[in-house]
Symmetry: C3
Subunit: 373 residues, 3 copies
């Protein structure tokens, strides 16, 4: 299956020109068609497959014995022309909502921005509402929530509510539970938020690319009635980037596409946030891995308990005490500890290559927990 496309992306207006077109509808093993494709009028493009740009910088890969055609998948730079600079500096911040007849209504827009993962390293990110991660949706168990979602990306997309018990039609799988949301289109997701716990939302369209370049965010559902909340409660989304000669690529676990920058909430150390804690405070870190790599996160100086797995509370008798928790893509671990010893305590991935910025050490998947009296 060959196809390629080019696009010109102006800030919020999209002009898409297709050099060649293919439409692939997935059929399953039993031959049935799982979804229907209703192209936006005047718009034709592959919405279930890969969109390759003509730029393919890795000619040398051919010597690996692979056809340039196949190896090209995922190897083209993410277009940066016309992408505006981010106007906010910090991702994962709580998103305001409006109440409409008891429903909490959130507005989400998928859009490319130029995003600083370090002061001097800027990537082309595809984002929700202009930040990496996108804004945190935080509601209470049992709330009815509505997300009015508009796609201002140059490609189709959908949103999957990772771990939340949604009706099937709200699950965000293109061609299976819904048509993809085409560029310029709006789609409304609505469901009752349950169960309580640490969840995520992210693209489910060509996820190996779209998720890798920023389309993810935290979704926290607080229990009703409220539990005894921790003193410090922070969500940390772990991911990876591939930046080469100033271009952004989707970082993947394959030759030539290995990441060279590693981020927590869209920032690489030393740009990662410092978590400030007073001695005696109980700290909850909600670890969420949304990249393509396992990240064993190591806390200095203090052990922690794993109090929830993928949002679900761990019975106290089954809670493990650890100082390093391996977070695989898609997993979430809520860990808790009481800060006892003052000082600057590192919290970082123990795959030490992930604590570098393109090889420069220290950097990447690392932050400081600053415990003071």
């Amino acid at each position: 299956m060959k196809h390629s496309s080019v696009w010109t992306l102006s800030a919020l207006g999209l002009v898409i020109g297709l050099v060649s077109v293919s439409v692939a509808i997935p059929t399953f093993a039993d031959g049935s068609l799982m979804g229907t494709h209703t192209p936006t009028p005047g718009m034709e493009m592959s919405h279930m497959d890969h969109m390759a740009t003509p730029t393919m910088p890795m000619d040398g890969m051919d010597m690996m014995g692979d056809s340039g055609d196949h190896m090209a998948h995922g190897m083209e730079p993410i277009p940066a022309d016309g992408v505006p600079a981010a106007t906010q500096d910090k991702g994962g911040q709580p998103l305001d909502f409006r109440l409409e007849e008891g429903v909490k209504v959130f507005e989400l827009t998928a859009q490319p921005v130029r995003w600083n993962i370090l002061d001097d390293v800027t990537v082309t990110a595809w984002t929700y509402n202009g930040t990496v991660p996108g804004p945190m949706i935080r509601v209470t168990e049992g709330d009815r929530v509505r997300m009015v979602f508009t796609n201002h990306l140059p490609e189709p997309t959908t949103i999957h509510w990772h771990g939340i018990e949604v009706p099937n039609a709200m699950d965000g799988v293109p061609g299976v539970t819904q048509d993809p949301v085409m560029p310029g289109e709006t789609f409304t997701y609505e469901f009752v938020a349950k169960p309580a716990g640490s969840f995520m939302y992210h693209s489910h369209f060509e996820g190996d690319t779209q998720v890798s370049i920023g389309l993810y965010a935290p979704f926290i559902i607080d229990p009703a009635p409220p539990e005894n909340p921790p003193d410090v409660d922070v969500s940390l989304m772990l991911s990876e980037w591939r930046v080469t000669n100033g271009d952004t690529y989707a970082a993947m676990p394959m030759m030539g596409m290995e990441p060279n920058y590693f981020t927590i909430n869209g920032k690489a150390f030393p740009l990662t946030e410092t978590i400030n804690v007073k001695v005696g405070q109980r700290v909850r870190l909600r670890l969420m891995s949304i990249g393509q790599f396992v990240h064993p996160m190591h806390l200095h100086g203090m052990a922690f308990k794993i109090v929830a797995t993928d949002g679900h509370p761990v019975p106290e008798a089954a809670q493990l005490t650890k100082d390093t928790v391996s977070v695989a893509p898609g997993e979430r671990y809520d860990i808790e500890f009481v800060a006892t010893e003052p000082g600057q305590w590192m919290f970082h991935c123990h795959i030490l290559h992930h604590t570098t910025n393109d090889g420069a050490d220290p950097g990447g998947l690392m932050l400081v927990i600053n415990v003071t009296e």
Copy 2:
């Protein structure tokens, strides 16, 4: 240690010509010899080491500063000439046995076949009885079982009964617990099946190659007396393939050998099986990772409990609730959930590159759980 060999493989008759010969017997740190090697009369070959074919397509690797000799290991294509097409379409199906004086006797044959992992992608697979995975052996705890095993591969091999408490002589480690089974030879494994749980059998001879290209299968031991069985009970073996220019290679976690196809029970989505479930049914998925990569498997729409680890029941108080379970090579996790919400629910690896077929999205390590009223 240098050696190379060529072979001509006709459908089930083997003609092996050795260009040069080396016999390597493993010695341990204390210098003792752990096994003895009794070559088949008239047949000499390396049985404890690597057999390289002269075809080495990756000359470019030399620029990596490595000798072609060392880097060649594992980089030659798996011979496809004369390999017959598979005559069955679905792997992991229960294998019939005959009863001989109270012993359940199974017949197993290792043999290459051409196997479709997608409609248009065919690999050269080394299989048990012609399918990937090989046939499921399913017996009851305490059964005496006998596997009469014949090697119709062009290389020596052995079978390891992964996780089963076998006598040492039945453990299948070449040079340690038995001589390798040479091409054309038959070897009989026999033991009492215990304990109850989800196990596997696979090659233990040059496993980085032989297991990678298909020599694995599920081995289920049901408890005696029977427990309360789930309504739906499915074994899912996770693995990877490297296909380049139509040739099959052993997929490995090394440069140039990274997999580009990812399979569940030997098939890549959309060829993977759909699991049909009625609302209210209890579903057990027995996840078994037999490749070289970690696969965090994510279930949409419903959380599950981990009820067994590596075949061993998890006490109820210690069962974690999750929606993503990271399955590392050699591990098995039995997960259970009750289907509550109708619809097409995806179950897939959350390393999203593993949900592509050579970069084309969606594909690979993904299937549909179809819940109906």
Copy 3:
């Protein structure tokens, strides 16, 4: 940030010549300076960043579209000139101490040695006291311990006491909790050993390189009062090496730097130690992953219980029974089993490429548990 340096390393005397100099002091997101840098008089060098040697054998990497400058990080061989051969053959052995007014005083020296990971494969290792792993520090909970540490490496370094609850100033993070220990300098670490469990110590300076090439060791704290000890108690540190054309590189999870040798306690099978056990004995293996890769360790013939995670006991009701435990970098798992069946039982990583020596099978991350009557 560009810099390069050359050095000449004589056995224990260091002559360091810098071609160009950069000093990078880490600043955090809030702009504050976390540490101070007091260069050793007469010595100027980068102590928070990477020191590249001029030798860069991988010119071909440029075709990957990356600047040679960035990709060079971590890709230079570890200097071998003038490095003495190791004088001891086995790492991880208990280190003697002297008592000074109730304090257990240990002497540690960081130093390069030429170390055999196989009879015919020698690496340049950076070690504590001349072995890989460095010597085991083994004390009792509540002991006051003092480590007098001298740096005889050609680079700065520090020691992190991984998992131990030390005061912040003893945590070993350069630029945050202490100045780096410059070549030729001595630094004294002192703290009360707690809690009881399986811990490690390792470099925290350019860890992606320094740890990868040998700067790690086990640190065991026995409980007070003593528990019921196992009959056999062995610590196993898992790591990886990259050896190319006889040169040692830091093995990393990136293109061209993937490891080709895999070791347990600094030795690759068949050089790994055999663990001798009598039938009926209770065996504890303390698994410690200190490389950059996950290692799912599979035991043949017997299941085990996970009795401690990262040094912390698992309540009996929460102990999982498994035959394969995935150990991620930085994690430790204490596993226990009672040997019931005599024989030679393999214990190995189930990423089967890790059970090869540069592709030659069997090898690497594998050892034998020899159970006798």
